[in-house]
């Protein structure tokens, strides 16, 4: 009896020691069974395209639509920004963050991984166009930006890319667009999974040249000769011909356009079209007004904005004056 007990115990101890004495199996254990370590470039570029949608974040509502004097909130505090020419750090960096951490990060991974793969030359060049698109948004919003070496934090361990002048950024954008657009097509595989054009190289080329036109036009005052050079190249290359060529990010209920869901949800009663925009539409009998605008006649707050008092007649619409402060119109 006694002996059996000792032996049992020793067996337990030996097992315990086999467990403890080594680190066998640790490498396998520390490799996730469900992680994706290698992914086709198409979904990765698709993600970059999806996140390049310019209306992706609230930055647009708080700053861009107000700076362009299209839509404003007359309420301050968290919605204060372009409407009152105020700083609002929570939202002013969102375009920066979204473009660098989503669009550029993923586009650059595709560019780096597929630069030498002739069969995937199309996805490589599509990624260069998407990166250039992001560059235009970034430099137009923020001026001088890190761009030429941006997005290489993991691949080249470059954690602090240098700032490039806006001039250098545009030079890079233009030459990238020129090379990438020209290189599309050929014998490389058609990337049918892309969410902009389903791999249609002709449409991608038109997108690339149209973007080149936009970028070149940005230089029309600071560098007219370069501007002219690239406008000429863009037109010669072939621009978008019809609405079928438009680069559309197809937001859906699963991937809502944040601007839309904000305006239909929590900020529904807090945003108004601006007076300059409504006045312009009315003065020019613009047909977009009755599509875009609704007025709840007599409504004094969100709760009384009901369909029963809604009017979409262009003549009834009133724009919110720029800079108008808060709820002077509210009756409590």
């Amino acid at each position: 009896m006694k002996k059996i007990n000792i032996q049992t115990l020793l067996v337990i101890f030996c097992l315990g020691m086999i467990h403890t004495s080594c680190d066998k199996g640790f490498d396998e254990l520390n490799t996730s069974e469900i992680a994706i370590n290698d992914l086709d470039p198409v979904p990765v570029l698709n993600h970059a395209i999806y996140r390049s949608s310019p209306h992706f974040d609230r930055h647009t509502l708080v700053f861009e639509s107000a700076i362009a004097q299209q839509m404003i909130s007359p309420f301050g505090v968290s919605l204060g920004g372009g409407n009152y020419n105020q700083e609002n750090l929570v939202y002013s960096n969102l375009t920066w963050q979204n473009n660098y951490e989503s669009v550029i990060r993923n586009a650059v991974v595709v560019i780096s991984n597929y630069s030498d793969d002739p069969d995937r030359a199309n996805i490589y060049n599509m990624a260069r166009i998407v990166r250039a698109f992001s560059g235009v948004v970034l430099t137009d919003t923020y001026g001088d930006i890190p761009f030429i070496n941006a997005g290489l934090g993991f691949i080249e361990k470059n954690g602090t890319p240098v700032y490039d002048t806006q001039e250098a950024v545009y030079s890079n954008i233009l030459s990238e667009l020129e090379q990438a657009t020209a290189a599309l097509g050929g014998t490389a595989r058609k990337e049918t999974g892309d969410i902009l054009y389903a791999g249609d190289v002709t449409k991608w080329k038109r997108f690339g040249y149209s973007l080149m036109l936009r970028a070149a036009m940005r230089l029309s005052k600071v560098n007219p000769s370069k501007s002219q050079e690239y406008v000429t190249k863009a037109v010669a290359g072939g621009l978008m011909q019809s609405n079928d060529d438009v680069a559309i990010v197809r937001h859906s209920a699963n991937f809502p356009n944040i601007v839309g869901s904000q305006l239909n949800g929590s900020e529904a009663a807090n945003y108004f079209m601006t007076k300059p925009l409504v006045d312009y539409f009315q003065a020019n009998a613009d047909p977009r007004l009755d599509v875009m605008a609704v007025r709840y006649k007599g409504a004094i707050n969100g709760g009384t904005q009901t369909e029963a008092v809604a009017t979409r007649a262009p003549a009834d619409q009133i724009g919110m004056p720029m800079g108008f402060d808060n709820t002077h119109c509210s009756q409590g």
């Binding site: 115990l9 030996c14 004495s21 992914l39 954690g159 049918t192 009756q331 409590g332």
Partner: protein
């Protein structure tokens, strides 16, 4: 080349351990080892027998009886009797028993030696459970430990028993969260040891670590509720003893799990008396919400100085209306005209009374060779938030059995079922009751809110233009969140005493739980976008988690006297830890059938599966040398191998050394009034095992769970999975700690324990920010350094100690201060964090927020055009969030069978930044927002940028909304003094003859009260403990709960 050398060294070390282990295994096989005891039996001997009893005459079972100077020993049996064959020349017997003073009795030729053992009422000669469950006498310890009397958690109770200990344990900072009865606690020992993480001690039950992870009741953005922590599972009635190992040296044998100390819990595994004993404990407490607000009630609901006068006003959370005059009315909802009068009891009316009813039945058996303890417990809590509550069912079995005189088996198994019903949403914007109730306009009658929740079409009725201030009645009626957890933990231990000085022990334990959760976001809420046609909006989430941690360990211990002066105690062991957690979750959004909250009824579903898995293997050893029982030196080492680290960094060694000198015993001729005195010192290096995550060496991709619409087909989206660039050279952080201390007992009345410690935390993993223009936001590096230092004091004093009346005072206090030493590779890296920051040269947890822009003379500067206050361009230092002083004072009186105990506790020397007060100002409820209302405008007191006095008139509401954005004024001293507990008890056994009734062995009735009274606080409309976290930020959590009730304990 460097790497190669390192690898060789690593290989050698590994080989060394393997050989060492092999030797130990072989030694274990030596047949002689278990026969050593018999060698001594050949000497001439005589039989000595007797009984051992306690002072009140109870037979003591299992008392160790030893013939002094030999290894001949036995233990008392069931009746307290023993019989020992002592050599003829033996002169002294030694009787030792846990919880009693060890005594030596001269045999003087007798054959019968009866002994009465004195219970060890002071800590001094006590035995405590130290790391790995090893029992040691307190005087041998070179570090600070605290023993906690289980009575502290079983009479004046909390659902989470740790909360009952707040203010009672020297050097241990316990905080209860204002998140509901089933909420979590926070425990900090010797400060915040790292910038990141919980910094909570390891919890060990019967030698096996268990999880104390916090459970969140919500997973989606708008859900933030507290579903307790690992300690919440424990039924306090099964606790036999509890020890806090405070410092690194005390906890050193836990190596990488030891940086925040250890709470060692030993559960009951046998009855204290012979035969079967039954204990029944019943506890009923009533909970009441405490209203700490002091709002203004002069101006009622409304904005811009106007009260609501037409239907459906949306100013329901603003009190910027008109001055309240007698006879005024207001129009609310669909035209209800009601008096415009203050509603001062919104908080107390909404948070109705809760109660907690706990019943425990324990059956314990004791015998000569073993025993058991079976405990069944039920806790039912009805929370102060309507429709919320927490139920817990516990079933625990502990047992111990000697199979042979040398071989024993013990173990315990604990099952708990924890059911959280709607743990309140805290700090969330939607579906929280607290934020709405506290910001609700001060003239809004609650009954109208209850009446107008949804319109005829089922849509939320808007009463506030802040749409995420959900109507609190709608939130409690339509939002549900159920968290159920089943947990089983326990262990099985086998111990074999090879000789009376050498044992081997094997132990395996597991902590396993499975947690299911279902929660919804109700349909047709105004604050979220409508669903596509054919659906109603809303969401439901089902979430399943499992957790498993297995620890298998072995221990070999030897304890020998080398000669009359020297003793040596050697322990060697190893542990294999495996931990895995899995989470399986699915969220469905937009419903087909309104009101049917199941995933199958949804339009779009987001599945999630994730898991985490790690192993840590360890070997450890300890050597204690003692000299004449008054000088002790203890050296330990533990080596851990981590699965989560790269092979080069995988092996880490954690050493410690400590010493104790009992000078009262060593030095002759000390004055009589010095009953006991010892000094101690210790140094240890310990660490953390969780700061490097599994699978963190690689960077992969994630695939979005929904497909994206392309021009012709739907397509997957994939993205680089992390914003953090992996660093293969990461290693766990390390704490280097030394402590010195002393313990004296004077005049038989006063005990003082004092400790000083210095705790240096190095190699803390920080997210070294890289520019996000690199596509990534950070890289993890081992760079952070910080230091905690402080003193701990425990004073026990008995001003009166008589036969019928006694008065005991226990005072515990600790002072901790910290300093951030290093935050980056560059000297310019002086600060990390946002509102709560770490700043080099400052204590941990600095509060930084925007302040008022001021001129040279300190006058506030206002915008010359709009008259609004200007803020500093960068956040400024406003306070320090970590308490410096923590402690408590207990006064306990005993008179005949009555006891009365009063606990006053305090935390001092820290600040908090209150989002609640910010809300109260901008919603017009704060008294501060009254200034200027009578004249209809505010003129900010200060100057315009050119230095002229500000004279701009600003609309009242506009001013306070802007003013509130500057957070400077919302930083408060977070200190407090509270009368935390009152316990009044009567021991009915003092009534003559009562013992014969129902063969009662004990009957105690206590009246208990908790959170009785706040003696001092510095905050305005809140309690400084009305928080859901301890980082120094505060948002509107549940009101404080004052509870009172009764505890009845009967023993048969």
């Amino acid at each position: 080349m460097k790497n190669d050398l390192r690898y060789q060294f690593y290989g050698l070390k590994k080989a060394f351990y393997c050989v060492f282990l092999l030797q130990l295994v072989l030694v274990g096989w030596l047949p002689a080892a278990n026969d050593l005891g018999e060698i001594f039996t050949d000497l001439e001997e005589k039989n000595i027998s007797g009984t051992v009893t306690s002072r009140n005459g109870d037979a003591l079972i299992g008392v160790n009886v030893l013939v002094k100077g030999t290894s001949i020993g036995t233990a008392t049996d069931f009746d307290g009797s023993y019989s020992i064959a002592a050599p003829d020349n033996a002169s002294t017997l030694v009787f030792s028993y846990t919880g009693f003073h060890t005594i030596e009795i001269e045999i003087e030729g007798r054959t019968t030696v009866d002994v009465t053992l004195e219970e060890n009422v002071t800590q001094l000669g006590e035995v405590v459970i130290t790391a790995l469950g090893i029992e040691k006498s307190t005087k041998s310890l070179g570090f600070s430990t605290v023993k906690i009397d289980p009575e502290e958690v079983t009479v004046n109770r909390s659902a989470n028993f740790m909360q009952s200990l707040q203010g009672k344990v020297s050097g241990v900072n316990i905080s209860s969260m204002a998140t509901g009865a089933g909420g979590s606690s926070r425990i900090r020992i010797r400060g915040q040891s790292a910038f990141a993480g919980d910094n909570q001690p390891l919890i060990v039950v019967d030698g096996i670590p268990i999880s104390n992870d916090r459970q969140y009741g919500g997973t989606q953005g708008a859900n933030n509720s507290d579903a307790g922590d690992g300690l919440l599972s424990i039924n306090p009635d099964i606790i036999e003893s509890m020890t806090v190992l405070k410092g690194g040296a005390a906890a050193a044998l836990y190596g990488s799990r030891a940086k925040d100390g250890v709470i060692m819990i030993t559960t009951k595994n046998k009855g204290k008396k012979k035969g079967i004993g039954i204990t029944f404990n019943s506890n009923l407490t009533f909970d009441r919400a405490v209203d700490d607000t002091d709002f203004q009630y002069e101006y009622g609901q409304g904005e811009r100085g106007k009260r609501p006068t037409s239907p459906f006003p949306d100013s329901g959370v603003w009190s910027f209306g008109e001055k309240i005059e007698p006879g005024m009315t207001q129009t609310l909802f669909d035209g209800e005209v009601v008096p415009y009068v203050p509603q001062k009891n919104q908080i107390k009316d909404f948070y109705d009374g809760g109660h907690t009813f706990t019943n425990t039945l324990s059956i314990a058996g004791g015998g000569e060779s073993g025993g058991f303890n079976l405990s069944l417990s039920q806790l039912k809590n009805d929370g102060i938030t309507p429709k919320s509550g927490f139920d817990r069912y516990n079933l625990s079995l502990g047992f111990t059995q000697d199979i042979t005189p040398k071989f024993s088996v013990s173990g315990n198994i604990n099952y708990s079922r924890e059911i959280h019903k709607n743990p309140p949403q805290i700090v969330a914007q939607d579906m929280t009751t607290t934020k709405t109730i506290y910001t609700l306009s001060n003239t809004m009658p609650l009954y109208l809110l209850e009446k107008y929740q949804r319109d005829a079409e089922g849509r939320e009725i808007i009463y506030s233009r802040f749409r995420n201030r959900t109507n609190p009645y709608l939130a409690i009626n339509d939002h549900f969140n159920d968290v159920d957890r089943d947990r089983v933990y326990g262990n099985l231990t086998m111990r074999y005493n090879l000789t009376d000085w050498l044992y081997i022990q094997g132990r395996v334990g597991q902590d396993f739980y499975s947690q299911d959760q279902i929660l919804n976001f109700p349909s047709l809420m105004a604050g979220i976008a409508p669903a596509p046609a054919g659906f109603v909006n809303g969401a439901v989430t089902q979430d399943g988690r499992t957790f498993r941690e297995i620890n298998s360990d072995f221990l070999i211990g030897a304890d020998r006297k080398i000669n009359d002066n020297f003793g040596v105690n050697v322990t060697f062991g190893g542990n294999a830890m495996y931990r895995r957690s899995d989470r399986n979750s699915i969220r469905g959004q937009d419903f087909i059938v309104p009101g049917l909250y199941t995933v199958a009824n949804t339009r779009v579903r987001d599945p999630l599966y994730e898991y985490s898995e790690r192993k840590v293997n360890s070997l450890y050893g300890a050597v204690e040398l003692s000299y004449n029982d008054y000088l002790f030196v203890n050296v330990t080492a533990r080596n851990d191998w981590f699965s989560t680290l790269s092979p080069e960094e995988r092996s880490v060694l954690y050493p410690s050394v400590s010493g104790s000198f009992v000078f009262s015993q060593a030095i002759a001729g000390l004055p009589n009034w010095l009953n006991f005195g010892k000094i101690r010192a210790a140094y240890a290096e310990v660490g953390s095992d969780t700061d490097v995550n599994p699978f963190s060496q690689t960077l992969g991709f994630n695939i979005n769970s929904n497909l994206f619409q392309g021009p012709t087909s739907v397509q997957p989206l994939g993205t680089v999975s992390s914003s953090v660039v992996p660093n293969p050279n990461l290693r766990p952080m390390r704490v280097k700690e030394y402590e010195v201390g002393f313990n004296v007992q004077l005049f038989g009345l006063l005990t003082l324990d004092f400790a000083y410690y210095n705790k240096l935390s190095i190699d803390q993993i920080l997210q070294a920010a890289i520019s996000n223009t690199s596509g990534y936001t950070s890289q993890l590096i081992n760079v952070g350094e910080s230091e905690n230092r402080g003193v701990e004091m425990l004073l026990n004093f008995a001003p009166i100690r008589g036969k019928t009346f006694s008065w005991d005072v226990t005072l515990n206090g600790s002072y901790n201060t910290s300093e951030v030493l290093k935050l980056g590779l560059d000297d310019k890296d002086v600060s990390i964090g946002g509102t709560i920051r770490q700043v080099v040269g400052q204590p941990l947890g600095q509060i930084y927020e925007s302040g008022y822009l001021r001129d040279d003379q300190g006058r506030k500067i206002f915008n010359a055009n709009n008259g609004l206050p200007l803020n500093t361009s960068v956040p400024i230092a406003l306070g320090s969030a970590v308490p410096k002083w923590v402690g408590g004072i207990t006064n306990m009186f005993q008179y005949k069978g009555f006891t009365a105990s009063f606990l006053v506790d305090f935390k001092l020397g820290h600040d908090l930044i209150s989002s609640a007060e910010f809300d109260y100002v901008r919603h017009g409820k704060h008294q501060k927002s009254l200034i200027g209302r009578d004249q209809g405008f505010v003129i900010g007191e200060g100057v315009t940028p050119d230095g002229t006095p500000n004279q701009v008139h600003v609309d009242v509401q506009t001013f306070y909304e802007a003013d509130a954005r500057i957070r400077e004024d919302f930083v408060y001293n977070a200190g407090f003094w509270k009368l935390r507990q009152i316990t009044l008890g009567y021991d009915f056994m003092r009534i003559p003859g009562i013992a014969n009734l129902l063969s009662l062995q004990g009957l105690t009735l206590s009246a208990v009260a908790n959170n009785v009274y706040t003696i001092k606080r510095w905050t305005e409309n809140m309690d400084p403990e009305q928080v859901h976290q301890i980082d120094g930020t505060q948002d509107i959590a549940l009101p404080m709960v004052r509870s009172f009730g009764f505890n009845l304990r009967a023993q048969f």
